[in-house]
Each structure stands twice: as structure tokens, then as C-alpha cells.
């Protein structure tokens, strides 16, 4: 039985027979460890657990729903998943006789307890691979066939939903056969345009400003320092943050304005950075697909519109650099060509 946030807990719980297991539906792993899955012996216990869960907030995640299920008699717990090996550009069927707990721990401590079978996308997970895995779990007779079917079904789901992970943990042997007790999936944001399941998921773990950034189309992470950062390229932005940290300078954010940014996007990015109220803003653009003249236009516009903007240190180079630098000079805005010079300038501005 599923109870959604805002529904009448008492009314729903009263129709269920206890003891039963109460599980928080929340987008994090290791729920049992976090105390988010417990057994309720009575209706009252279940109601108070539900109240408690709906009020909890873990690392920015909320419990979205609560699932109450009858207790099963556990004879054995297995692990079973299909995972994308991105750098190997293949898939793994992963099974283990030691399910129920953190599979990462098992994998570290006793890698021999984990069975990994690889396969390609075009060949897919074959009945033979599925049989090999189920057999090595020690399944026999009808359980063996059921195990094979479950594994084949997992691959069907992975393919259909473009999931990078489809996991059942634990897959439980009960007196009446195998039951999938808990599961997890990792989906691909880039497939959102053709996957309704992703379109219907709610935004999670993002601060208000991070949500704003996502809407505007750039990568943004709020940090705790005092220097606003507008840069392009995830790697270059990271390297810039590394250099600042090593010099004892604390960035207020990570912001990669993205490839081929329009004037509007750069302007929105500056607006967002100003909202963090940094003591200085460092702009570092190395134009490839991004054009320096467009970035310059956005900076000029933003400085016109925001009279209380913090001091800006600007470094522009790459595609259409000459045009960009000329525009900024015309508007009496200084440009620094080399990055270390720009970082030093930020340090100066902060100590003023």
C-alpha cells in the first residue's frame, strides 16, 4: 500500500494488518542504515512512523511517499542488477548470494562473492547469460526459471527506460518463492525528451538558485566562498576553482555558462552570480564555440543594469577575442589576457 504525501495516513493505515514493514520512498540509497525502513507492530506504530518519515529531510531529499508492505519470511537474500560500464561501453549483469546490504562493501571486502557477466547492447542479455548467473546463485527448479525470468526482465526495463542501473536488492527467497523486495534505478537525463518517466520526476537536491540555473541552461553549483565565478567549460572552471583554492581564495559558485552561450544566457548567469552577493566576480572565458564578443555584450549590459554589481575581473580569449576586447575597452571595462594575472587581480580587489 502506497501513501502519498498529504494523504490521510490514519485512514489508509487502518485498512492494513500488522505487523508490517514501513518503507520511506526517497531518492537516496542505504535507507535501512538511515532508519528509513522499519517494522511497525501495530496501526499506531505505523501512523507515528509515517508522521516521522514525512517530516524528515536528508541531504536535501524529502520522503515523497511511504510504502507499507506485509512482512515476508526471508530464507535468503540475493543481489541482482544490470549496470552500464560507461568507459568499457558495455553492460554487466551483476549477481551475488550476499544481498540485502551495501553491495559496494561486499565488492570491496570479498570481490569473489560477486558474479559479473558482461554483454553488449546489440547482443543483449541472452537466456544463456541469465541462466549462468541464476545457476551460480544456486537456484534450482522453479526458482531457477523464475530467477532467469527476473534477470531477463531487468534487461528489458533497462533498454526500455534507458537506465544505467536497474537493481533489485534484496531479491528474497521466501517459502513461496522469489520476491523482489527493494529496487533502484539510475536514468539518463539526456534521454528526457523521449522518456516520460523522467519528465514526471520532480527536481531534487537543488538549491533555489541551482534550479534557476538549470532552467536557464547552465551548470551551476552553489559553494560557500566570496568570489563569484563565471566561466566556460566544465574542466576549465574546475581547474580555476582548484587554483583559487590553492591560493586560499574561496569561490562562491561553480558556473559553466556552456558552449555557444547567447548574450541572454551570459546575462542571466551574471544576474544569478550577483544574487550570491560575492565580493568580486571573476569572469574567465576561453572562446571556442562560445564567442567573446557576445560575452562582452552581456557583461556591458549587466553592468549597465546592475548599478550595485561587485567589482569584476574579466579575462577573455579565443574565438572573436579582438571584437570582444574592443567592445569592453569602448565601455571602459578592463580586460586581462592571462589567467594568473586575473587571479592576482582578484586577490588585490579582495584585499582592498
Amino acid at each position: 500500500m502506497l501513501i502519498l504525501r498529504g494523504e490521510d495516513i490514519e485512514e489508509k493505515v487502518k485498512g492494513f494488518s500488522f505487523p508490517a514493514i514501513v518503507k520511506s520512498q526517497i531518492a537516496i540509497g542505504s535507507r535501512k542504515k538511515a532508519g528509513l525502513i522499519k517494522i511497525a507492530k501495530s496501526t499506531n506504530e505505523a501512523i507515528s512512523l509515517c508522521d516521522e518519515y514525512f517530516n524528515r529531510n536528508i541531504a536535501g531529499f524529502q520522503v515523497e511517499a511511504i510504502l507499507i508492505e506485509e512482512l515476508v519470511t526471508i530464507e535468503h537474500e540475493y543481489y541482482c542488477s544490470i549496470a552500464l560500464d560507461a568507459s568499457g561501453r558495455q553492460f554487466y549483469l551483476i549477481v551475488s548470494k550476499e544481498g540485502g546490504i551495501d553491495i559496494e562493501d561486499v565488492s570491496k571486502e570479498r570481490p569473489e562473492a560477486i558474479i559479473k557477466l558482461n554483454f553488449s547492447y546489440s547482443t543483449g542479455l541472452t537466456e544463456n547469460i541469465a541462466r549462468a548467473a541464476a545457476t551460480r546463485l544456486g537456484l534450482l527448479g522453479t526458482s531457477l526459471q523464475l530467477g532467469i525470468n527476473i534477470v531477463l526482465k531487468l534487461w528489458e526495463i533497462a533498454k526500455k527506460l534507458e537506465a544505467q542501473l536497474v537493481e533489485i536488492n534484496p531479491l528474497v527467497m521466501t517459502p513461496s518463492g522469489l520476491i523482489a523486495v527493494d529496487g533502484k534505478m539510475i536514468l539518463d537525463d539526456d534521454a528526457e525528451f523521449r522518456q516520460p518517466i523522467i519528465q514526471n520526476l520532480q527536481e531534487r537536491k537543488l538549491s533555489d538558485l541551482e534550479k534557476l540555473a538549470k532552467k536557464a541552461g547552465f551548470s551551476f553549483v552553489e559553494l560557500s566562498g566570496e568570489i563569484g565565478i563565471l566561466a566556460n567549460g566544465a574542466g576549465l572552471t574546475m581547474a580555476l576553482l582548484d587554483v583559487l583554492s590553492e591560493l586560499g581564495l574561496q569561490p562562491a559558485n561553480f558556473l559553466d555558462v556552456g558552449g555557444g552561450a547567447s548574450k541572454e544566457r551570459v546575462y542571466k548567469a551574471l544576474d544569478l552570480i550577483f544574487k550570491l552577493q560575492p565580493k568580486a566576480v571573476l569572469v574567465n572565458i576561453f572562446g571556442g564555440i562560445t564567442r567573446c564578443d557576445i560575452v562582452a555584450q552581456a557583461i556591458i549590459q549587466a553592468l549597465k543594469d546592475f548599478s550595485d554589481a561587485p567589482p569584476m575581473v574579466i579575462r577573455l580569449t579565443g574565438t572573436n577575442e579582438k571584437e570582444g576586447v574592443a567592445l569592453l575597452k569602448e565601455a571602459n571595462i578592463d580586460v586581462i589576457q592571462d589567467i594568473m594575472g586575473a587571479v592576482k587581480k582578484v586577490k588585490e580587489v579582495l584585499s582592498e
Binding site: S87, D190, M238, A239, D242, I289
Partner: protein, 286 residues
């Protein structure tokens, strides 16, 4: 060869804004662009270059062997698949946000046909003074003997320009892209350039996330005798946050800057502490 000065290039998506803009800049560099392909726009011309509806047609008319793709992410699977099926030797995908399952299918097709695929979400590749197949700036460096292989785009421009400014020449610049599933992996690119007679030194530009640097370290340990220098971005990144590149998520011990630097050091790779230190480290070897 991935590409050389004689490569004949098709731009897929040449009639779009980005395609048009970068076609001009590649032409300025001297790249031999012989055709554009956009379904439904056949018969048009962009910068005096003929546009065709289909890859096969464009290849028949021009003898092209290389393609660079600028079409939107949702059309990449069909565009790149068409390029591979037409037998193009090197297909380079610039577009970002390509679904992972599309990339997997493309990689399998490229392997099956023995063709090269690079990207997505990448700046492309450059043989300085000879050919530019990508969107990186034109004036970074001259031809020479250092191969630069990078997961990141802009950061690699910065480093390659610093190398160029130090009067060190570059034999090839290869941007493999920031996505988790790549047409060419870091270890494939390193293996390729360790065999390249023009290349004397390999520079690797990595970043947090995925296990490619670790796998590359293994490869270098046993199979690469040329000196390798690496810079890894993301030492100060907070755990679990997504820093722009889909590949750049740290979870647990795998994929941290610290872990990558250690693995590379253990394989004899020289580590530059900042991007701007790379030319210095190269000079110490030369």
C-alpha cells in the same frame, strides 16, 4: 590515421547556425571541407560548398572520408549512424547531451565496421597547421611533437595555448569529450598516439569522474614507453555534486582527482599541478 591534411570533410548540419559558423572558421584554417549534409536541404550551398540530403550521395560526389556533426542531440543517432553506414573513416560528434544508449549503439557500429568515432560533447581534433576538425580556437599552437589528449574542451584550449606560447609544437590535439560513453576512450587515444612516429610526448588532460584515467594509467604502466604528462582538474570539487560534465561526478573512491593522480604517478606519469605548469614540465623532458 584518425585524420590528416588530405582528409576530405563533410559537415553534417552545415545549414544550422553552429554548423555554418564553424564551417567558415575551419575553412579559414585550411580544412578541406567538400560537402554539407542536411536532410531536406540538398541543392543549397553554404560558403560555396554544396549541401546534400544524404551522406552516400555526398561521398559519391566528393570522395569525402571524414565527417563532423553539429546536429541537435536527438538526431545524433541517425546522423552518426548514417555516417558510419556510409563508411566514413572518422566521424566526429560535437553535439552535447547525446543520450548514453545512442552512443553505445554508435560505438558498437563503429567497432563492427572498423571505423573511428570521436565525441560526443567534444571540441574535435586538430593537427596544427594542417587540419582542424572541430570548434577549438584557430591560433593555439604550431605543428610539433607533443600530442594533447583531453576529456575537457575549454581547459584543453587553455593548456594547448600555453604549450604553443612556450614555443612547443603539437603533433595532434584530440578532444575526446566529457560524456561518460565516448566514441574514442582516453586509453584508445593514448594507445594510438604511443604508436604515432611524429609524437614524442603525450599530454593527458583529465578530470574527476569515470575510471578512464585509472584505466589509462594501467595501459601506460605496461604498454607506453613515451613520456606522459598529466593534469587532472577537480581537486577542490565537493563530493557528489555535478560539476558540469556528466562524467564528472565523484562517488566513493572511484573517480576522485586524488585517486587518478596517484594511479598516474604510480605508472610513471609526470603530474602538472596547475594547467599553466604543463609547458614547464614538457620543457624539463625535452
Amino acid at each position: 590515421m584518425y585524420i590528416n591534411e588530405n582528409s576530405k570533410v563533410i559537415v553534417q548540419g552545415m545549414t544550422g547556425k553552429q554548423g555554418m559558423f564553424h564551417t567558415q572558421i575551419m575553412l579559414n584554417y585550411g580544412t578541406k571541407i567538400v560537402a554539407g549534409v542536411t536532410p531536406g536541404k540538398g541543392g543549397q550551398q553554404v560558403h560555396d560548398i554544396p549541401v546534400f540530403n544524404k551522406m552516400k550521395e555526398a561521398i559519391q560526389e566528393t570522395g569525402a572520408d571524414t565527417s563532423i556533426i553539429f546536429v541537435p542531440a536527438r538526431f545524433i543517432l541517425s546522423a552518426a549512424m548514417e555516417s558510419l553506414n556510409a563508411g566514413i573513416n572518422m566521424t566526429c560528434i560535437i553535439t552535447e547531451n547525446v543520450p548514453v544508449f545512442d552512443m553505445i549503439q554508435l560505438v558498437e557500429k563503429a567497432k563492427e565496421k572498423g571505423l573511428f568515432l570521436i565525441g560526443p560533447n567534444c571540441p574535435g581534433m586538430l593537427i596544427p597547421d594542417k587540419i582542424k576538425l572541430g570548434i577549438m580556437p584557430n591560433n593555439m599552437c604550431h605543428y610539433g611533437d607533443v600530442a594533447v589528449i583531453s576529456k575537457s574542451g575549454t581547459l584543453s584550449y587553455e593548456i594547448t595555448k600555453a604549450i604553443g606560447n612556450s614555443d612547443i609544437g603539437v603533433s595532434a590535439y584530440i578532444g575526446i569529450g566529457g560524456d561518460p560513453v565516448r566514441g574514442t576512450t582516453m586509453q584508445e587515444a593514448v594507445a594510438y598516439y604511443s604508436e604515432d612516429p611524429k609524437t614524442k610526448i603525450i599530454v593527458l588532460i583529465g578530470e574527476i569522474g569515470s575510471d578512464e584515467e585509472e584505466k589509462t594509467a594501467e595501459l601506460i604502466k605496461y604498454n607506453v614507453s613515451k613520456p606522459v604528462i598529466a593534469y587532472i582538474a577537480g581537486k577542490s570539487a565537493p563530493e557528489g555534486k555535478r560539476m558540469g560534465h556528466a562524467g564528472a561526478i565523484i562517488s566513493g573512491d572511484i573517480g576522485t582527482a586524488k585517486g587518478k593522480i596517484k594511479a598516474l604517478k604510480d605508472s610513471g606519469v609526470l603530474i602538472a599541478n596547475t594547467p599553466w605548469e604543463v609547458p614547464q614540465v614538457i620543457k624539463e623532458i625535452l
